[in-house]
Symmetry: C2
């Protein structure tokens, strides 16, 4: 028997497009001689559909699309993911289902039992968990059909307070009682650079424990902040990786089940470096946000610092250099190098740029406020005015020409509130908002791996907001290596202050940094969506109260 | 036996304050001769603690505070709500618990079984649902101790697609097998003007069905966008309301259980009007946001329109007129009346105000962008520049003097994207962001109920953004009565386009309005938190995808 895996990039709510993608892949699988082709979790609506699932008309469109696809399954079966109605009088109105389609019909349905409801996941918001388990005999192969988290009943969490067994049932334990020959797992699993190994380990441990091979189909591409890695895996009954499909790329591959059962492992592609994966993830995230919101062109404010430089490189690669515009918006405090380095970068990338000094509107506003602020020293107010004039100009270009403004703040800044709301925190999409400053530097080095694209001066000079004379980030913040270590332990590992491991000489910084994180929640509440590459990004996956003490 | 209900206003994470509040009320109840005093759901951390529950140190502080309070329970028992550890190896790490405290000890624990995970609720994110039920004999009275949603296994939803039975178990059905004499329900139930009757009906139907009286303790006060109505109820075994405690006020009341069992109903307070409750809710929301973020002073941009006028009145009442500052920021397109009406209002309220024309910075920016925009007609870009200059000035005052900028956009505008991101959409808290325009007018009339506070001209003149010559809202939007009807049916009732009921002559507006709602999700993503008064507000309770088609 031959089985194909369709690892595709779905567009939420775009039923026509998703159906085309799926039907093209069914045809492709059929021409490969496949008996069955597998698509990913909730591929019909695209994942995550969020509160569109609260709408009857949306769910009806899902059902209709499933039936249309079923009619294309002639001489081949397909497994797709879609919400289905819970026809019981009780419980949530929907199931998160895997549907096996053949000859115009749904011939088998498996509903998801374990509904992730943590971090960015909120599946119990919509779905009733399945409590009964059965397997399906497809041409003599007994298939255990599972959905993503169903295999994750045991998992390590970065948060050290979480249990490894988050659920009180184990779907595989239940299914194993029916002696399956093969496990199929369809998923919509977003990328996190800390989870690459975990994802392999989960499948390896299950295959080994039950002595059954596993075929997985994950979605790829990005939907707003979530970037799905693809990397669909085939694991043998001995727990060996038979195949890992490419990261962040659409792909349809066909496998001979006999080869998988034999346990002979083909030669593997080399494992990509983590920084290369982050780089590719971010490019995927930018590209898909534009494609899926029907925009083509971006605008970026180029400050002369490493954050906007890296962001520009990523945007230029994602969208094409002709679709990106850079504005240099120097103030009286900008260093000469900031402008010349930025121009050099824009020229190297072949990106159109313009230099517009903000001095005149800054002066007009200073004069306008002179009376109201008379007798008061300049402070963060005047710094913020500059940042906000820049945002105003960037947004004017966005409005006039139809650019999306890309935000270039990094995760370290976002964490400690080192940024101006409605100023440098503005933008439609934050590119590196989930990348710590020390990783931004790694990204810069990676971008320069083959040739010098980002001027060395931009990478090595001490970070500065350049909003007052001789300002340096280290005036108000610890050096980034120390800061990022504290941030990671507090945000990702969720360690209490007294369990944060740091050199004794920096211990006194810990409470100060934590206070900065907590007191800037109000700013992050209004931040743009940030492409997520970690297991705990700011945004929907981290919900903190504002009017609170902590 | 006497039982007291402590309806209090908790501050999330402020364990010291919450403990003081609770201990003071225990003392008060004891002096009333009460045997038992009841506090609300998760009163120890304050509700909703959100992802603070993911932190071990936070949960440890809850446990510690519970034990400290238990030591104050001498000669009286108290029921408090707090997270407790799930000591099983499996499942979520916490339970949402009701703890009965007496003489330094926890003498009984009931865990929440039904975990609301819809709209603004996400309790399955943190808590394991309880599956076992038992009752507690307290001085001969068999008490069924339940937590909020535990009594809501049957409930009507505004979304017509939702099932009325959202859960597969009924805690009261389970508990009734143990023949309880009394149901106690502790809750943290936020206000929604459409749910006032529902809340009564839920308790009435349960009391009647099981023939047992119910005593409830709800929290009051606001935590960021959620405003808790208090209105704790006592219902007799015949399903009569014995007492409804005040809305939006702290109160400790003591009841003789014999009187409740007797079924003789005391004279009731008259039911408040809905618009009066909305008014009081918003004032509570503003006041608590400031108190709980440790701010005292607000700034508001006063446009001459009804939205900012109503917002100023609410802020002035919530914070005191001396703590509110109004800025009038006219442009070349502002009508004379807008300035004079605004001045009249500020003077009537005794609110300090300043008039600052935005002409100069607007001109400076027009000139700066003249070259880049040459040959292009003025459009929404120039309108947005004006709105953004205003936000920049308001934020400069906020930064310089420590005001929180209050946002004055209404729900109708927010729905259709009639507002400028980083412009009039800016602010730390949105006061009327969950109030439809037609209800803003009702609020204005309510504010003027005893004396003319808001000038009549502000209430009756046709709404305009005044960002270009002779602009009216109706240039781009349907009249608000029609618009709001469509919005309510689409947003609150979640009706598909073809089931929206509207006069035939407006049918063609429906798809246009829905398109506006859906295509402006990206703006609302970055909007400030908005005080919630409906059952479906924009913000955390309505999660829609951005890079999507719908």
């Amino acid at each position: 028997m031959k089985i194909s895996v369709g690892q595709l990039n779905y567009h939420i709510g775009n039923f026509k497009r998703n159906k085309e993608l799926i039907c093209d892949s069914i045809a492709r699988a059929k021409s490969d001689g496949a008996d069955l082709v597998i698509f990913s979790e909730l591929c019909i609506p695209g994942y995550p559909p969020l509160d569109l699932l609260d709408r009857l008309d949306f769910v009806e469109k899902c059902n209709q699309t499933v039936l249309e696809i079923a009619r294309e399954c002639n001489g081949i079966a397909a497994i797709v993911g879609s919400p289905t109605m819970n026809n019981s009088k009780e419980g949530k109105k929907l199931y998160n289902s895997a549907l096996m389609l053949s000859e115009g019909k749904v011939i088998f349905t498996a509903n998801k039992a374990l509904l992730p409801t943590y971090d960015i996941f909120d599946e119990y918001r919509y779905f009733e968990p399945e409590k009964r388990f059965s397997i399906f005999d497809f041409k003599g192969i007994r298939i255990a059909l599972t959905i993503c988290e169903d295999l994750w009943d045991e998992q390590p969490f970065d948060n050290e307070f979480e249990k490894t067994r988050l659920y009180t049932i184990s779907p595989m334990e239940e299914l194993s009682r029916h002696y399956p020959d093969l496990v199929i797992n369809i998923s919509a699993s977003p990328f996190a650079y800390t989870k690459i190994k975990t994802k392999n380990d989960i499948f390896i441990s299950k295959a080994r424990k039950y002595g059954i091979p596993i075929i997985t189909a994950n979605q790829t591409g990005a939907n707003t902040e979530l970037i799905f890695d693809g990397a669909s895996k085939i694991v043998t009954s001995k727990g060996k990786i038979f195949r890992c499909m490419p990261f962040f790329e659409e792909s349809v591959e066909t496998f001979n089940l006999g080869n998988i059962f034999s346990g002979n492992i083909p030669i593997q592609d080399p494992e990509p470096e983590t920084i290369a994966l982050i780089h590719k993830a971010l490019i995927t995230g930018i590209r898909d946000y534009f494609r899926k919101t029907n925009f083509t062109r971006a605008i970026i404010g180029l400050s002369g610092g490493i954050d906007s430089a890296v962001s520009l490189c990523l945007a230029s690669e994602a969208l094409g250099n002709k679709n990106v515009k850079a504005l240099l918006l120097p103030s009286r405090y900008s260093s000469e190098n900031s402008v010349s380095d930025s121009i050099e970068l824009a020229k190297t990338l072949g990106v159109d740029f313009e230099v517009i000094s903000i001095e005149k509107p800054f002066k007009a506003l200073e004069e306008l406020l002179e009376h109201a602020f008379s007798g008061l020293e300049p402070d963060v107010t005047e710094e913020n005015i500059q940042a906000r004039i820049r945002a105003l100009i960037l947004m004017a270009f966005s409005n006039k020409f139809g650019y999306i403004l890309l935000n270039t703040s990094n995760k370290s800044e976002a964490a400690v509130g080192y940024g101006t709301l409605y100023g440098d925190m503005a933008g439609g999409l934050s590119i590196i908002g989930d990348v710590y400053k020390t990783d931004v530097i790694k990204l810069a080095r990676f971008i320069n791996r083959n040739s010098k694209i980002i001027p060395e001066d931009i990478i090595v000079k001490p970070p500065s907001a350049e909003l007052r004379p001789n300002q340096l980030d280290t005036d108000s913040l610890p050096e980034y290596k120390i800061l990022d270590s504290i941030l990671y332990q507090y945000i990702e590992l969720q360690r209490p202050a007294d369990r944060i491991e740091i050199d004794d000489s920096y211990k006194n910084l810990v409470p100060k940094v934590i206070r900065m994180i907590n007191s800037n929640e109000y700013k992050r509440y209004q931040a743009p969506p940030a492409l997520r590459i970690s297991s705990k990004a700011f945004g929907d996956g981290r919900k903190m109260p504002l009017a609170a003490i902590y």
